[in-house]
């Protein structure tokens, strides 16, 4: 496998505001199984970044270990990336973000990587409200180690191994909302129409943004008895209020019926316009979000869409009151108080 694919540029490919084509947001060829949900999510990430005209090199990609965690190699080939060890991406992301607050951090993890070995770090990165987009490619199993049940596998669901999972599932969206995350969404790898704007909204949010994406593992967990299979997901998806994502540059038209929509302005100026329906809830209220998720869960449905947004929270840098300049750009002059000060300090120890 070569690390570089031949660069062939079609002159007529559409370009975004920065003059980049979609191809500029691609990465290496995927080595995942044909049909793997993760590849669809990879494509959605590429699409979202392209459409938002994000400068590719101003993104840092992070992941743990697993099939899912391989995928950062398959998008944004012009961005730096790092594969942490299994379950420890949140802490590595935290450090990276502390070093440079000016990049866009996109983390990709698996359900094993996050809900099992990474559970402690996940809860604490949420608690610190690190400014990043955290994508879980959730297939209810350990793909790379050949299909064991993960902690997000629903009770009774069975993978190719055939034994129904006897443990209760952990719902990462509920965990995140409960722990105080400011942006929580759920998508399905098979529904790009919804996933791309979800990702865009997550990128527009400042603070921790979880996007949990049901992403069937076609090799080990796509059986009829699996609740993380394509068919099950498609049949049991229940979307929250549909919404439009309106990028910051775009004017917001007012042609909507009073009371039927709710606008949430994100940090970068873009707007999420939620279309209220009968069974929609107030996504800005933590408690209604949790309730809506619980209700769906009890009914055996998968609630997708934007589950919770709160734009009022401080991110880790705000909380720590760090200086505005990225820490990794500070020079000796900024950092080292010099010998005179040292002499003065020494005085205190005489």
């Amino acid at each position: 496998m070569s690390s570089r694919r031949p660069v062939f540029r079609h002159p007529n490919l559409p370009k975004n505001d920065l003059g980049y084509t979609r191809r500029d947001y691609e990465g290496l060829d995927s080595t995942l199984c044909a049909g793997c949900g993760h590849d669809s999510i990879t494509n959605a990430i590429i699409q979202a970044c392209f459409e938002l005209s994000i400068e590719p090199h101003r993104v840092a990609k992070l992941s743990g270990i697993g099939c899912s965690s391989k995928s950062p190699a398959y998008f944004l080939g012009k961005s730096h990336g790092i594969n942490a060890v299994h379950g420890r991406m949140p802490s590595v992301a935290t450090g990276a973000n502390m070093a440079n607050k000016d990049l866009l951090y996109i983390g990709v993890s698996g359900d094993g990587d996050t809900a099992s070995i990474g559970m402690g770090q996940f809860v604490h990165i949420v608690r610190r409200n690190l400014n990043m987009v955290y994508i879980v490619m959730n297939n209810g199993c350990y793909g790379l180690t050949k299909g064991q049940d993960s902690a997000t596998a629903d009770k009774g669901s069975s993978s190719r191994k055939g034994r129904p999972n006897p443990f209760e599932a952990i719902d990462l969206c509920e965990t995140a909302v409960q722990t105080g995350a400011g942006f929580v969404a759920r998508g399905f790898s098979g529904d790009k129409e919804q996933l791309v704007p979800l990702l865009k909204a997550a990128m527009g949010h400042r603070g921790f943004a979880l996007v949990d994406v049901i992403s069937p593992c076609v090799t080990f967990n796509n059986t009829p008895a699996s609740t993380k299979s394509y068919h099950w997901a498609r049949d049991h998806m229940e979307a929250t209020a549909t919404f439009d994502f309106i990028p910051s540059r775009q004017e917001i038209t007012t042609d909507y019926v009073e009371g039927a929509t709710q606008n949430v302005t994100l940090h970068d100026g873009s707007v999420i316009r939620l279309h209220k329906t009968d069974n929609s809830f107030d996504v800005t209220q933590r408690w209604s979000s949790l309730e809506a998720m619980e209700q769906c869960r009890e009914k055996g449905q998968i609630l997708t869409g934007i589950l919770h947004v709160n734009e009022t929270l401080k991110d880790t840098h705000d909380i720590l009151e760090t200086t505005d300049k990225p820490l990794n750009t500070l020079t000796e002059k900024d950092l080292c108080p010099g010998n005179q000060v040292l002499t003065k300090i020494s005085e205190n120890y005489r």
Binding site: R88, A96, M98, L327, N339
Partner: protein, 613 residues
């Protein structure tokens, strides 16, 4: 009975209960000795507990300048009932037993070879101090006042110290000074000509400071340019971060009152190391500080940093292991755990400071080394060094010094490159390649960092040859590191000497003193103090040029000896382990005795691990 009669050369021990505020009074005393210009080494021997258990504070006063532990004590301030008997029994013959005579001694205190100094501390407090809340604290100050008289100290040193300490709240100084005086008065009335130990002003300390290693380490991180710290509380490393926190709040604030540093108390040590690693990957100077259990937890991530070549700094303030061990006791027992941390073929760069000045210097230096070598650097401090105050030369900073950020390509460098850049391409043939920080260039220099096998262009590979090239380059890089390590301190006492001693870190003071003691007995040893790993060539040369080399250290298994043998391919029978397995700082006398015993009873080559101090 012959009373001990000495000037500026004795050990005084304070036996207290922890959480009773004795620490500041005892510090006051030690600091006064220091301010008298007399070399002093205080050792706090405290329990892993917050309140109510025995704690000792031992102050060695030594005009000659020996700063290691001496062993034994000549004077004891015995104000802890729980340990009274033990404290009594341990006193040197001819010594002084100072106790709170409010409660009298029972009949089994029968020693005839010591001098009892009875002071009814509690009574005095109850009588003289109105505020009952202040009594327990001031009781300690009172005995310091008494000591001033007993040891014939310049009293103004103490009152000045108090005044300095409370310079911002002079009101608080008052009762303390009164307590000091109370103590002195009582003593002068009752203990005239009682004590023949005395403290005279001296000039042995010129420009020195008295500081704990962790504070110096924190300062080193400040000066070394660290901006990100991930950490998790653990004794005895916590105060490294506390110092860094304090200093950054003083010297790293921008105009708007925001800090030029991010310090994150993580949820555990895995996360603390992850934070440091992530920040270092992203181009900040970053570190974490921990102790044994934390090192064990960081093992996996250290392997990632080694293999993906991320310059992260770890301060390991060692304590007595294994496992939870004795969390408030000192030891040098993580040498192997750190040198070979993580599964697979891994080796890490270690630095071994021996005093606060070196804590400062080596910590600052560790960031340069890590950046230059693109690998973790572990600073091997310990509880004794980190948490006790030490007489040290003052720290210095050369303002002309520039941070060595190592081989980093910025945007301009990337633009001007002619040939293809590969993250792991060894173009200089020193095992070190060129890195880029994320976000540098729109088109060039991006790569995916990973702990899995990678080729020169950072691409994932399972190719045998690519893997082998990478592993061998890492070995070569370790060779490059060898030259960059701080020079060993070598002391040659006999030019054609056959006996040598090797030691490191906090073993230094006691070892040097032991060498002098042995010298007086006609046993002349040359010595080498190891300051870094991989070992510089001089270490091998030194050992090879001696017939027998004692490796003196504070652990059971002779871990440095092990490392020396395997990494330098030395003859094991030549290296004799002098291992101190106690948890308390090593002392000169037991080293001297062990070496003497070994030399009389010449070791056979089969059993070279003969000594145990």
């Amino acid at each position: 009975m012959k009373k001990l009669n000495r000037i500026n050369d004795f050990v005084i021990r304070f036996a207290n209960v922890n959480g009773s505020g004795s620490a500041s009074a005892n510090n006051l005393f030690a600091k006064a000795v220091f301010r008298l210009g007399v070399p002093v080494s205080p050792k706090n021997i405290f329990p892993s507990n917050i309140q109510g258990l025995p704690t000792w504070y031992e102050v060695r006063v030594c005009e000659k300048g020996y700063l290691g532990r001496r062993g034994g004590y000549d004077f004891i301030v015995a104000v802890n009932g729980q340990t009274l008997k033990k404290d009594y029994e341990g006193l040197e013959s001819g010594g002084y037993f100072f106790y709170d005579s409010t409660k009298s001694l029972t009949e089994d205190y029968t020693r005839k070879d010591i001098t009892l100094i009875r002071m009814p501390l509690t009574d005095i407090c109850n009588r003289e101090i109105d505020n009952p809340k202040l009594r327990p604290l001031l009781k300690n100050i009172i005995y310091v006042g008494a000591l001033a008289y007993l040891l014939d100290m310049d009293f103004s040193i103490l009152t000045d110290s108090i005044a300095k300490q409370f310079s911002k709240k002079p009101k608080l100084a008052e009762p303390n000074i009164r307590a000091l005086k109370l103590g002195r008065e009582y003593a002068s009335e009752h203990f005239a000509h009682t004590c023949e130990l005395s403290l005279k002003r001296s000039d042995k300390l010129a420009g020195h400071i008295l500081i704990d290693g962790n504070t110096a380490t924190g300062l080193g991180a400040l000066y070394g340019g660290a901006t990100v710290a991930g950490w998790y509380p653990i004794t005895p490393s916590t105060s490294v971060i506390e110092a860094f926190d304090k200093f950054t709040r003083q010297y790293r604030m921008d105009e708007s009152g925001k800090r030029k540093a991010a310090i994150i108390q993580a949820e555990d040590e895995l996360s603390a190391m992850g934070i440091a690693l992530g920040a270092a990957w992203n181009g900040a100077r970053a570190f974490t500080a921990t102790s044994g259990p934390g090192v064990s937890l960081m093992t996996e991530l250290l392997g990632l940093a080694y293999f993906s070549e991320i310059p992260v700094v770890l301060i390991n303030v060692q304590r007595a292991g294994p496992s939870t061990g004795m969390p408030t006791r000192t030891q040098q027992s993580d040498v192997l755990a750190c040198a070979y941390a993580s599964h697979g073929d891994t080796k890490h760069v270690l630095l071994f400071p021996c005093d606060p000045k070196e804590c400062f210097e080596m910590t600052a230096e560790s960031f340069d080394l890590a950046d230059r070598l693109q690998t973790p650097v572990i600073v091997m401090s310990d509880l004794d060094l980190g948490m006790n105050d030490h007489v040290s030369m003052p720290m210095e900073w050369d303002d002309a010094r520039r941070y060595d950020r190592g081989k980093v390509l910025d945007r301009a460098a990337l633009d001007s490159m002619v040939r293809d850049w590969g993250r792991y391409l060894d173009s200089d043939n020193d095992g070190i390649c060129y890195r880029t920080y994320p976000g540098t260039h729109p088109e060039k220099g991006a790569y995916f960092t990973r702990g899995s096998s990678h080729d020169e262009y950072a691409a994932y590979t399972e190719d045998t040859d690519a893997y082998k090239r990478c592993m061998e380059r890492l070995s070569q890089k370790f060779e490059t590191a060898r030259d960059l390590m701080p020079a060993s301190h070598i002391q040659i006492n006999a030019n054609a000497g056959t006996l040598g001693a090797v030691f490191y870190g906090t073993t230094t003071n006691a070892a040097n003193e032991a060498i002098e003691q042995l010298g007086e007995k006609g046993i002349v040893l040359n010595s080498l103090r190891v300051r870094g790993f991989p070992f510089k060539d001089e270490v091998r040369k030194f050992i090879n040029s001696h017939d027998q080399v004692f490796v003196i250290e504070q652990n059971r298994d002779g871990q440095m000896r092990t490392l020396l043998i395997t990494e330098l391919d030395l003859l094991p029978s030549k290296l004799i382990s002098i291992a101190h397995v106690a948890g308390t700082p090593i002392d000169a006398l037991s080293i001297t005795r062990s070496i003497e015993a070994l030399l009389i009873d010449k070791p056979k080559p089969e059993t070279p691990k003969g000594g145990a101090a």
